[in-house]
Assembly symmetry: D2
Homo-oligomer: 342 residues x 4
């Protein structure tokens, strides 16, 4: 860490900083600049206490860390691509995967029809929310456990692995019985209690970026999961909160590029929630592929106008086919292959 002192410190002040730095387990190096004096503190920032403490000293101006804060999910620690196996599928390699399905599980007819359409038209993993996080307590909260049963049925009928969101620590056990991948939504992107519980299930975790998380915070959320012994993590960018109102969120594709550089984990993009607009899903998906994503999560519903949530962003089966076709040249340009359900 680098401790920057305020202009013109006295010798006693410099000594006080140096002593504190040493006390906290670092080796201090004083550098007297023309304008500012700086104390470089040598030591591992992950195992020693943070020097941030020093900011309370009156002569200290700022403290700047020099190390990264995540380790288990870093590419430095795991240079090779992390391949996550879900049934026959391998996520994170050369195959490009499309997770598709309705926003919410609503009924047997809806779920089976949609699942069938997803399978036939190019999706390899089926999504569907049984437990839904909704901004208003008056909005539809999902079917709950009966929704899990419908997901199980849909898997049986189509063979597609299932991904569904976990909202409550106490539901994890039930969900684990049905789901092949556990999703953590954007609102829980910093709910570390939940992250630890799902991590311990041993299942692959689909970790959406928190709705105003920095890339570093997103990777540290992944580190929480990895620290519980589970490195089967799929990162998912889904838009961040900005001042722009033309889209629901602002899709941050730079974050995808950075996540691919910093970690070896697979990175997906959810263009449906990012834009909240059906008319942008195809264009943003192409961009996601081009920037290096390993897969997409899109919302497909056999009859969108009848849907109970997120109506504005669900594709019909026909539109889903057109969508797959529209993005195919970009999957090829990216040197990947669209994964197909067997």
């Amino acid at each position: 860490m680098i401790v920057v002192l305020k202009p013109k410190p006295t010798q006693d002040e410099v000594n006080a900083v140096v002593e504190k730095v040493r006390q906290l387990g670092y080796e201090p190096h004083i550098i007297e600049g023309e304008v500012r004096t700086v104390v470089a503190a040598v030591g591992d920032e992950m195992s020693n206490a943070s020097l941030e403490a020093l900011v309370v000293l009156p002569m200290v101006d700022k403290v700047m860390p020099v190390q990264k804060r995540f380790k288990l999910v870093s590419r430095e620690t795991h240079p090779d691509p992390t391949i996550i196996k879900v049934g026959d599928l391998e996520i994170g390699g050369d195959a490009f995967h499309i997770i598709a399905g309705p926003c919410s599980v609503e009924s047997e007819e809806q779920m089976l029809s949609t699942a069938q359409a997803v399978r036939e038209r190019g999706g390899t993993i089926l999504r569907g929310g049984a437990f839904k996080p909704r901004t208003s307590p008056y909005d539809f909260q999902g079917l709950g456990e009966p929704g899990l049963d419908l997901l199980a049925q849909a898997r049986e009928h189509t063979g597609l692995p299932i991904i569904t969101e976990v909202l409550r620590e106490r539901d994890t056990e039930k969900i684990v019985k049905v789901a092949d991948i556990l999703q953590i939504g954007a609102r829980n992107g910093m709910n570390y209690a939940l992250l630890e519980v799902v991590a311990m299930s041993g299942k692959p975790i689909f970790l959406k970026r928190g709705l105003a998380a920095t890339v570093e915070e997103w990777l540290l959320a992944a580190e929480y999961i990895a620290k519980k012994g589970n490195r089967q993590i799929i990162l998912c960018e889904r838009g961040i909160r900005t001042y722009e109102t033309a889209t629901r969120n602002t899709l941050d594709l730079s974050a995808v590029a950075i996540a691919k550089k910093e970690t070896s984990l697979p990175v997906f993009v959810d263009p449906s929630h990012a834009a909240g607009r059906l008319d942008l899903v195809s264009a943003l998906s192409k961009a996601a592929i081009a920037v290096g994503a390993d897969g997409l999560m899109v919302e497909v519903h056999y009859d969108p106008p009848s849907a109970l949530s997120d109506i504005a962003q669900q594709l019909t089966p026909t539109a889903f086919s057109a969508f797959i076709e529209s993005i195919s040249p970009f999957i090829a340009a990216a040197g990947k292959k669209l994964s197909v359900a067997r």
Copy 2:
């Protein structure tokens, strides 16, 4: 709700919208403008399904709700100030309250010394984190249950009621035994599962605004608590995430003014976390009082440089006394009285 159609719709297209509106339980009124055609849908937006669904129709441009989405916490429903009793204290009336204490519970000495200082120098409620949400899994996560014991001891010694944060659904029961007020932190501001669990404890809830929550989302989070039968809610503004880097977060005092208008709940401000800078705590506290806040939460530590978290923003006992003195004229100007521990 108002449904705006795209320019120059055909009669069939207008009819299709009208029929859908009626199907969803609203009474449609067509208004043909010079440039745009609009369908006004009459009906209660809280009991009927949302018309957002209509956005998927090709001729619909946008759907605009006209009602507010929260009800139980609205001033329309509860016009009189909500007074929350905590021991002898009444929060939300003419008294101005200061919650103070360390960021984290660290040791018996730290807790008892700090609690004593808080009580003697002007705080009426003691804060202290036993379970800490930290961005990095490598940072100090709090003492956990032993921390709860220290909080209980501090209450016994000083008579101050205790507020502490709940992070995990499964910890709620234990915490309820010790805490007089349950705190929900900014990272859990949209963790509705946790909101519902703490609501059911029947204890007063101190609800921090989510780190990028809109005022509406914050009040809807409160609505989640109220819907479980608990209207003992203290709202707390603690800064929002913006592009500005000179402060850790941007304190949004307009949100305090709006929350006071929209609801009758008490509203507090946490200047320590908002700025992340000790040197702004006093100025921001004065502003919070002036804008209409009912109380403050500030961090006080008997020896800040030794603290295990948030070192940059904890006041010493001496600084806390000076702080109280500095804000007193503003409490008087606001027509309030500083609450004092008996």
Copy 3:
């Protein structure tokens, strides 16, 4: 416009609103809902006064416009692609263009070497700043007029058309003599005085999105240019200001997709300034192509470490060649052809 009244208005209050609406040139339609009363005001929002005025009436809750605010740059007005001719080049059609060159014009050697490299390796338009907007008055402000001479020389040597930024109304005349395209930078994205002056030059205008402009504000800035009789506008997305610090700005590719839908103007992307990181330029450029951009602006310098500004984001000539190669498959996937200098 739609005027929403507060709950339970009296008949007199409704009448007052109705009269005001009529006075301002609209025809009022009253719709009494179960919960809210709404007055729909029929009339052209572009030619009539705004009803926003009504918000000051005590019984009015909010006023919601239903029309778009731009017209001359809208696709509704000009449905066919706007093709902008610059010498032999046609921008906005099937050709994909790469504007390249140094951040700042620095010296004859730098400019001629870089221009030569740009031409040989795949750029068709040469950029270079003679007048530089810098956040600090102590940073290099550009060579000024001698810089314009160097740009003119570079054009003579390579035949490449020139684009350069206009900062001052009073410099426009001089710059027009040299530049083929006039650039408006992000800091001047809402400097309407300058927009009008450059518009009247009759030259094509390269309009960067303001650093915190909404898509609507960006298109309205274009409307300012169009209203002065100049529809030769190239829009350029260059990242917006958000809380994320991993990149200098957050590239908003959704804005590109929306701009392509709303207008028929060509839309470019500047990945160098968006990210402020050389290591993301290629990935973000691929994404820009995939999302539908008509061209890119990238920074190339014959010797980046010697550059006087924006060092962190300029490509070497060799890196520029590799860059062109890396993006080529995506240009093909997008159904476009890379434009080549003759």
Copy 4:
């Protein structure tokens, strides 16, 4: 500056950095940490070239400046309060000033009636826009020069000094003849060309913070003015752009507290534009006073519903009187005195 190298650099790589640092005029100090190697570069960052250049070297991870970038406006350079004289008024001392008047100059009647009301009810400086920056070219752009004449008349009648906004370099001369203070609006907060032109007029400059400017960028904009020999600068916070939609902008009072610490310049707050809501003006003004502002700018109009711009945020004369009364106790609490027109 501090140059942080990537993990495990070779000796040659370290040498390359060291040499570059020396070349750029700094004295390098190598510090080999356990995890990272850092090169501290000693030298004045204001007079030497920036080391940012080094980021292009493959072994460099990041470069961190340690100095502040502004100087002439810093409190270190000018520790005593900067007092700005406008006629009899002294801005920046113990007096608290209220600038009031309509958003736009509209007519003789409007201007004189409003000016009279401002003078009688507690304002000491009259505002009014003759040239208006409007997001849409179809909105009212101000009366222009006739508006300046009306401002001159209003000053003659009331004796109040005049503040008005400058939008165009070429209008500065005309405006200087009428205005006592020149205002730079938020959209021009980074229009350095305009800043330099108005600075050279020698008049006091009222510098609004750019709509998404950081505090540092705002102070650097002031530095542009000071560098032209004009230190008569009044800073004005007017809200920043964030994701929150309940207010037009988010008033950032922390920025006021920081500006007061970092500089000795007077700092004002404009609550009208910050919130865009009349109902928050009083509460936010109280907060602005409490946080340490030297004055306020509020919008007052003798008949707001007839106003041609910013209708939602202009006070009536009666409301203005009530407003002054409501904020008075806070001016006293802050140890200031409300300035009164003689």
